[in-house]
Amino acid sequence: MSTIPPATCPFTGTTAAPLDAKASTPAASTDTDGREAPVADWVRIEDLRRNPFPIYQRLRAEAPVHWVPAVNRYMVTSYAAAHEIEQDEARFSANERESLMKRAMGHSMLRKDNPEHQIDRDSYGATLRPGTIKKHWNAIFEANNTKYLEELKAKGPGADFVWDYAAPYTGENLRLICGFHNATHQDMQRWSQTLIDGTGNYADDPQVWAKAAASSDEVDTAIDEMLVYLAKNPDHSLLSNLASFPIPLEAIRANLKMTIGGGLNEPRDVLSTTVWALLTHPEQLAAVKTDPALYAKAFEESVRWVAPIGMYPRETTRDLVLEGIRLPAGARLGVVVGAANRDPQVFEDPESFNIFRPKKPHLAFGGGVHFCAGTWIARAQVAQIALPQVFGQLPGLRLDPETPSVDEGWVFRGMTRMPVLWNH
């Protein structure tokens, strides 16, 4: 924020007290023998959606990788195996065949390997980087936060934290980051949801495809309009940068759709999950209230504890052995970072939310060349701006005991209902 001197990290402050935690650096496995992946035919989608964590515990204890018929993929649940995949794009490609994401959104950077991927990634320029956030976005996030907190207050106690505040706040931020001056945050939310539904349309429901296609067309039209406008009236947005970048329109469209799908729900979910976690752990809430520097820790622990993107795909490029499990070339993998982030080999007492745990790198933002491009945007808008204001401006904030909150999902997980009360 504006009061922080220029030479400090805008998100975490400069230094931290020494900790003895070290990164775990798993040894790469050799591509020789290995055993078949066990089959987990007992895993059901409904159970994953309700609460995936007991399932992950059982899977991880049995083997680092399983074939899961219900998901039609190998699920990778150990930290070491997930980390090995992220760091090795030669053996584990992001360019999945028959990808539903490619069908719904086009071929974005997220599904390309290098060198192609890097061209797209570089086309995003400095828009999402810490320097631009500090100089430009933080003030905008603050204004949006004030606006949507006021709307929540106007609704009064009993309002829903997710839908009456977190969703519009993060939607409006992303709208401006992208540069959609011709759309509303409601458009952003609708586009995001329908495009995401397309990427998850394993049932091949024609209605889901129709909605995704309609949104896709709307986004294309909005982009065409904004590229012309922003070429003449440049700002700090992604589209403004792209207006002068030598890159095919097809790539711009796919990347923007992927960013709409991946940049709105995750900050919304981590904001709601973190508030929920703090409200249900009063000692930790008391600690962050007395030391606001701890909001950054609460954010990081929250994304570890409930990774907003619980699983993402990769595909093997050759026969190989991953952490002792043999996988054929072309095997479709689900990298379950939601499970890896609770691997007891890495995190002590991994199932509990504890902002004071020794710091270790979690995998919620992915890793390797596809490491989330919006990491610092998420940290800024949630940890630095929203969380302190939420607790500062809503005294006595608490969950509504009459109407319970609901958390659900596993590929994407977050609060879907969270009615709150406060003293006003």
């Binding site: 931290a16 900790l19 650096t25 760091q87 400095a126 980087r129 490491f371």
Partner: protein, 107 residues
């Protein structure tokens, strides 16, 4: 081949040979050198590959660009004038032998 010497906070050190054009982060991650995480795979987006380069070698390295500079403000251990992101420091050319110290904290 160019050589990197990684010194740990406890005083131990490891020598690693790298190909021309290799960088300090990638070589460390491949060799499993403790204390260099390299979360973002070299996108200059995570600051978990922070190292202190030997003062004698600092001048021969490519200068710190803007992306690296802003990210160096986000290192966990203290930034000094010898702080670099390992992923942005390449070996080869005039840089044939480089000594780096690994900070006590990376995340």
């Amino acid at each position: 081949m160019p050589t990197i010497i990684y010194s740990q906070p406890d005083g131990t050190s490891t020598e690693v040979e790298v190909a021309d054009g290799g960088n300090v982060m990638r070589a460390a991650v491949n060799e499993g050198i403790a204390g260099i995480v390299g979360e973002c795979g070299g996108q200059a987006m995570c600051a978990t590959c922070h190292v202190y380069v030997d003062p004698q070698d600092a001048a021969s390295l490519s200068p710190v660009e803007d992306d690296e500079d802003e990210m160096l403000d986000c290192t966990t251990a203290e930034r000094t004038e010898f702080s670099r992101l390992g992923c942005q420091v390449k070996l080869g050319g005039p840089v044939q032998r480089l000594r780096v110290s690994i900070p006590s904290d990376q995340v």
